[in-house]
């Protein structure tokens, strides 16, 4: 059993009286690929925002590497975990290189100069994510898929041990979806990065995850392996609809197929 890096106990959160998360409790181990699924409004994104401390007024306890999340200085936290939003703003006026270089922030002091080592980390990250070829382009001119690649390149350059990703492939075409998921797998394998990924896409979760958690109405309704979630009853309970299944021709895993529209 790997070391636990995130430990969540009795996490609850509400906005103006409405419960968004209720008594969430789970752990994440180092190097694990954990996918969080569930219907719209289940609290998946909110959960990620609590973990990345964008939201802070939750109740319960979250500890990261054995320490209370709330007491981390922001810079120190950024060396441990980073958050990759669903989409980057479309109008970023910096070049791709400048943007990725900014991810070295937690390793710099306010006036310190960029060291050759920082530059190496950045160029390696861009090489790995295949973003080096458009390093000098302005972010605002990139396509959605390219922008998402750059977003992940920056997370790699940040050298955080834990990536928190919010639907990283939702708005992308098939090729870019595959690219993003195989990139995440590569990062996980190369650096042992812990991946916590929220997604709508059950099939990609099943094909990429070590473990899956399902949320419904702010509560955890399933926690287990990809094989276990691909069960008619389980899925019906999570999504309140029936699913048809097929077998993946390559891996033999059970996957869901699109519904027939009458």
């Amino acid at each position: 059993m790997n070391q636990t890096v995130i430990e969540i106990e009795d996490l609850s959160f509400s906005i103006s009286g409405k419960r968004i998360l209720e008594q969430i409790r789970f752990c994440v181990s180092a190097g694990e690929r954990l996918f969080v699924v569930g219907p719209n409004g289940a609290g998946k994104t909110t959960l990620l925002r609590c973990l990345s401390r964008i939201i802070t007024d939750w109740h319960g306890s979250i500890s990261v590497k054995g320490k209370d999340l709330k007491i981390y200085p922001q810079k120190k936290l950024a060396k441990i975990l980073t958050y990759v939003p669903q989409v980057l703003p479309a109008d970023i006026p910096f070049t791709v290189y400048q943007f990725v270089l900014m991810a070295r922030y937690p390793h710099l002091s306010p006036f310190s100069v960029i060291s050759p080592q920082d530059e190496k980390v950045v160029s390696d990250a861009m090489e790995m994510t295949q973003t080096a070829c458009f390093a000098e382009r302005v972010m605002a001119t990139l396509s959605g898929g390219e922008r998402q690649q750059v977003s992940i390149a920056a997370a790699v350059a940040q050298q955080a041990e834990i990536f928190l990703l919010d639907e990283p492939a939702t708005y992308l075409d098939y090729k870019h979806q595959r690219d993003i998921h195989s990139l995440l797998a590569k990062i996980n394998k190369t650096f042992g990065t812990t991946i916590v990924c929220v997604t709508h896409d059950l099939n990609s979760a099943v094909l990429s995850a070590d473990r899956i958690i399902a949320l419904k109405e702010g509560k955890i309704v399933f926690e287990g392996s990809p094989e276990e979630i691909m069960n008619e009853k389980t899925l019906e309970q999570i999504y309140s609809k029936k699913f048809d299944f097929a077998q993946h021709p390559v891996t033999g895993q059970k996957i869901i197929v699109p519904d027939v529209i009458e």
């Binding site: 906005i15 922001q74 120190k76 950024a78 939003p85 109008d91 306010p110």
Partner: protein
């Protein structure tokens, strides 16, 4: 490369303006007349106790306002954020107006600045407080709160004018238009201290401002303490704005246009944008003031009239450009 050249041109522009404008005015001053630094001669007196202090004061004021504009626009991710639109200038002006009417007769150590600073800090706390009451506030809410606070203070100033006597009212109006009546080096010295403190604080936030200009979420994910940075910038801007407003009145538009023009010239990296805007803002206001005191010489126009006349059309042009946030 292009950006480096633009930056060097801005530096040259600033040096030229500071070097030339002291010689321009209703009375001609020649270089030969002032080289002995003799205050006994008329030329020496005009040059050393009127023109130079005035040029330094306007330069510092312009620099401070531009610096505030850069920081606030990045922080709010909004091209219209300035000390003016956020009510910080309004608060400072109200503080200074209170001083003019109620406290000018009592001698208080650095009275106008203390009152302006109380006003600008009050405005900032009000803006920040209003957005804190509502949970999960957005940048837009904060900007709207700023606009509301600005109106609030404008009304208070009008009220003060209404209840004050004729002379006081005239003094307030004259000063509200933005004017730089300086004699000697006391004013530029005080303003230099306030402006440098503010500029150093904001320059130290360059990396934070770069990230916050993208989005607060990204900034936080990269390790920026967004809440603390906001407070630091608010504090630094209220110090600078208090100094400027106390001495020169609430001069508008420099804080808006200098950052925008510099962004077009040197790009969005605050490590170069902030110094560029400081130099450009300073030089621009000095130039405006030079125009203001020569165009209807021997009479003088308030500098605020000129900056607004030049700044107004730019403001409209920015609005008409459509998606100004993406382009600027």
């Amino acid at each position: 490369m292009k950006r480096k050249i633009a930056f060097i041109l801005i530096i040259i522009f600033a040096i030229l303006v500071v070097a030339v404008t002291p010689f321009i005015g209703s009375t001609k001053v020649l270089l030969s007349a002032i080289k002995d630094i003799d205050l006994a001669t008329t030329a020496g007196q005009i040059f050393y106790s009127l023109r130079l202090p005035r040029v330094f004061t306007t330069f510092l004021a312009g620099a401070a306002l531009a610096c505030c504009g850069v920081a606030l626009q990045a922080m709010f991710k909004n091209p219209l954020a300035t000390p003016f639109t956020l009510g910080i200038s309004g608060g400072a002006a109200f503080g200074a107006a209170v001083y003019v009417i109620f406290a000018a007769s009592v001698s208080i150590f650095y009275g106008p600045i203390v009152f302006s600073f109380a006003g600008s800090l009050g405005a900032v706390i009000l803006v920040y407080g209003l957005t804190r009451i509502k949970k999960g506030f957005s940048v837009g809410t904060m900007l709207l709160a700023g606009v509301a606070v600005n109106f609030f203070f404008s009304s208070l100033i009008m009220f003060l004018q209404y209840i004050s006597d004729f002379t006081q009212s005239f003094r307030i109006i004259h000063w509200l238009m933005g004017s730089v009546d300086v004699t000697g080096f006391h004013t530029p010295r005080v303003l230099f201290v306030l402006t440098s403190v503010g500029i150093v604080i904001i320059a130290a936030q360059s990396l934070n401002l770069n990230l916050m200009s993208i989005s607060d979420e990204i900034a936080a994910a990269r390790g920026v303490n967004v809440k603390r940075t906001r407070k630091i910038i608010f504090l630094a801007t209220s110090i600078m704005v208090a100094g400027v407003v106390a001495f020169c009145g609430p001069i508008g538009f420099v804080g808006l246009m200098a950052p925008h023009i510099c962004r077009l010239l040197v790009g969005h990296d605050h490590k170069i944008l902030t110094p560029a805007a400081i130099l450009f803002g300073g030089a621009f206001l000095t130039l405006c003031d030079c125009v203001a005191r020569t165009i209807i010489a021997p009479a003088e126009m308030p500098v605020g009239v000129i900056t607004a006349l030049l700044g107004g059309p730019l403001f409209v042009w920015l609005l008409l450009k459509g998606n100004s946030e993406a382009n600027l």
